[in-house]
């Protein structure tokens, strides 16, 4: 019995486009082993669910920012945006450049709310803001959203490996999925963030390498610009057409629906921002992501398509080159050129490593987020509320670790579903457009409209989801128009539907309008929740959440960061988190007794990996020193430091 008889799924699907040199495989294997060891080294400190899910909430903004971009750029990004870039030119970047509109809501509303109210998940927010039923529905929606993303990423990586190595899609998905599962099982949020830093840099470098080398190759054929005609250079296509990429549809689907999904609803991203050392650092991280890294990511993920289009126009690639495989085709071409001109081997391996990095950096945080929701919103409530058991935290940590394995297996099982779609971008968009609008409307109105209440949220989630299901009903009406096309046409303001598939992009807009309408009507017909219930959970009452977290009046004055000598002491029980600092030093930090402080290793490049949150106690007597309990030095790995950097947080 041979392998073909045992498992037909693992057979070669087609001849490999590029078998690769052995050095390429050494690079790929070294990368996977190296990043796993790196992740495990940091992940070994995850001793509680708080460490596993939130990394101790101690990281600097730049680390969080880089990690967020690595998470946002999945393996599908290279395939999907290269495909769009090849077909439509620079307008493929539209999806990465339209996040700014939601930033006032996100940076100054949603982030402070979740940061200061200390919710662990969006479903938990739903229970506190609305009720337990809303939490259950939110849990289902978000789990579908995230596990679908896991499957989709595995699918796109499988497609890439199919193109490059000739493997079947499932083969690549299973191999990489299993590696990820093991990696996430042992690591926690800390290892996710630290590995994302490396993975984010690799995928940006690899992406830009294609642009640089591809542009150099095109110089012998008139240059990139000459082979990239005017219409391909536009930031947008038409408002209403072509139906394959209408600007209005992309705006509503990507900027509005997906924007809310990615920033407000994606538990993986939220957990990343909740891992920041302070609300200020979380906001800085957002700025860093949206203003600096997203444009870079847009170029890194799209440029293979741009270069591919120019190469086709220059006659360097066949005019019938597959858009779906253009990333692989261009990578192959660029790699071959590098080898031919300089003899350097390994570009193919680097590209594969970048794809795998993109996949791992996305999937690890998604799996971590699935674990958080499974444990905090499903398992823990059942154990504590239904079974009335009081289990130790290490039990939940073990459940979280094994959930990582289970989530990956479910993601792998979803790969064949994604394989049945012929256009990956539309498949992804349909999925998001279906599950997102009801949740997006509830999150936005819940956080920014105090009157919005539990009944309205429940109606939005239930009736709104039913409306979204209706957008897939294709029963022809009397004039032959499919029902779903007619339905979305009611709001599509002239955007042209696909003649075969009907509306794709405008489904999100329909969902936002329908869910927004339901939410508004029900809210106006029902009584608002008592103000006490919404304190700290809606914009306008964030100070209440800050007060509750601090246990006193918050002060947001920013003082100096001070390098202070460590004096390890043994403080009495109940005062272990209090530190003593000389009044002059407190004044420089603009801190007072009772304020929350942050102490970190003096080497900034640790990004908070060695740090701890503390509370200012009664003033000390030694200038330039901080008296700190030994038990607080150990978890933050500050026990070997003679000096630490201390700053006031709140």
């Amino acid at each position: 019995m041979n392998l073909a008889m045992i498992c037909p799924l693992l057979l070669q699907a087609q001849p490999p486009r590029h078998a690769g040199h052995w050095i390429d495989y050494v690079i790929i294997i070294s990368y996977i082993i190296g990043i796993t060891i790196f992740g495990l080294a940091f992940g070994s400190h995850a001793k509680t669910t708080g460490d596993f899910f939130f990394g101790g909430r101690r990281f600097a903004w730049w680390l969080i920012g880089m990690s967020c971009v690595a998470t946002t750029v999945g393996s599908y990004s290279f395939m999907k945006y290269s495909q769009q870039a090849y077909k439509h030119g620079f307008s493929s970047a539209q999806t990465y450049l339209n996040d700014w509109f939601l930033m006032p809501f996100f940076m100054f509303g949603w982030i402070p709310i979740i940061y200061f109210s200390r919710v662990t998940s969006v479903p938990e927010y739903f229970e506190r803001r609305f009720n337990a039923k809303c939490r259950i529905l939110a849990t289902i929606s978000i789990l579908l959203y995230m596990i679908g993303y896991v499957g989709y990423n595995l699918f796109t990586l499988g497609k890439a490996l199919e193109g490059m190595l000739g493997w079947r899609v499932m083969t690549g998905a299973i191999i990489v999925g299993c590696v990820c599962a093991i990696y996430v099982h042992f690591g926690g949020q800390t290892s996710v963030i630290m590995t994302d830093l490396v993975q984010g840099m690799i995928l940006l470098i690899a992406g830009f390498l294609i642009l640089v080398v591809g542009s150099i190759m095109l110089m012998d054929h008139g240059g990139f610009w000459a082979n990239f005609p005017g219409p391909f250079r536009s930031a947008f296509l038409g408002v209403r057409e072509p139906h394959s990429f209408p600007a209005a549809g992309v705006f509503w689907q990507d900027a509005m629906a997906n924007g809310v999904a990615a920033y407000f609803m994606n538990q993986g991203m939220l957990m990343r921002y909740m891992s920041a050392k302070s609300n200020r650092d979380a906001k800085k991280a957002v700025l860093f992501v949206v203003f600096m890294l997203m444009p870079l990511a847009a170029v890194a993920t799209s440029n293979a398509g741009w270069i591919g289009r120019a190469m086709v126009n220059a006659g360097m690639l066949s005019a019938d080159s597959s858009a779906e495989h253009i990333f692989v085709i261009v990578s192959d071409k660029v790699g071959a050129a590098i080898t031919a001109s300089s003899g350097i081997i390994g570009f193919f391996g680097l590209m594969m490593a970048a794809l795998i990095a993109a996949l791992m950096s996305t999937i690890d945080s998604l799996i971590n987020a699935v674990c958080a929701i499974s444990v905090n919103d499903i398992y823990r409530p059942i154990v504590e509320r239904r079974l009335h058991k009081d289990l130790p935290d290490r039990h939940y940590l073990a459940v979280a670790r094994w959930t990582a394995i289970g989530a990956t297996l479910v993601g792998i099982a979803l790969v064949p579903i994604f394989m049945s779609y012929d256009n990956m971008y539309v498949a992804h968009g349909n999925f998001i457009a279906t599950v997102t609008p009801p949740m997006a409307v509830c999150i936005m109105l819940g956080a920014f409209w105090r009157r919005f209440n539990a009944k309205a949220a429940l109606a939005t989630l239930v009736i709104g989801s039913a409306c979204m299901v209706l957008t897939y009903v294709k029963t022809p009406l009397s004039d032959g128009t499919p029902f779903n096309t007619w339905l979305i046409d009611l709001v599509s303001h002239g955007v042209i539907p696909d003649p075969k598939k009907g509306h794709t992009y405008m489904r999100a807009f329909f969902g936002l309008v329908a869910c927004g309408g339901i939410a508004f009507v029900v809210t106006m017909l029902t009584a608002p929740a008592p103000e006490e219930k919404t304190k700290g959970l809606v914009m306008g009452s964030i100070r209440d959440a800050m007060r509750k977290l601090k246990g006193g009046e918050p002060s947001e004055e920013i003082g100096e960061k001070l390098l202070l000598g460590v004096v390890a002491v043994d403080r009495p029980e109940g005062e272990k988190d209090l530190v003593k600092i000389h009044p002059d030093d407190l004044a420089k930090m603009k801190a007072r007794p009772g304020d929350i402080l942050y102490a970190a290793d003096r080497r900034w490049w640790f990004g908070g990996a060695r740090s701890a949150h503390l509370k200012a106690g009664e003033p000390g007597t030694c200038p330039g020193k901080v008296e700190i309990d030994r038990s607080y030095l150990q978890p933050g790995e500050l026990n070997k430091q003679t000096h630490i950097v201390v700053e006031k947080i709140m």
Binding site: F101, P231, F232, R233, S234, A235, V239
Partner: protein
């Protein structure tokens, strides 16, 4: 080979894509700008951005600069770049 795309190729690309002019840019920035303005108004009203302080003013300006930079960048790409 001249190194430049053939007129037929450019024509085919143009027919397929149609340089859309300023309308999609205006569509995105009028609707998106309204969403942004509502968000900023909420921030100011709830004092999440406190215009009475210099830090608040700087933050407010930074947010506006972000919007303007993106608008200029995409406006340039849409209305100038195709014709260079």
């Amino acid at each position: 080979m001249s190194g430049f795309p053939s007129p037929a190729l450019i024509l085919a690309a143009s027919e397929a894509m149609q340089t859309a002019g300023w309308q999609p840019w205006a569509y995105q920035y009028i609707i998106g700008g309204t969403v942004f303005a509502i968000g900023m108004a909420l921030c100011v009203k709830t004092k999440q951005i406190d215009l009475a302080t210099s830090r608040g003013k700087k933050t407010f300006a930074l947010m506006l600069v972000g919007l303007v930079v993106y608008a200029l960048l995409q406006g340039f790409m849409q209305m100038v770049l195709p014709y260079i």
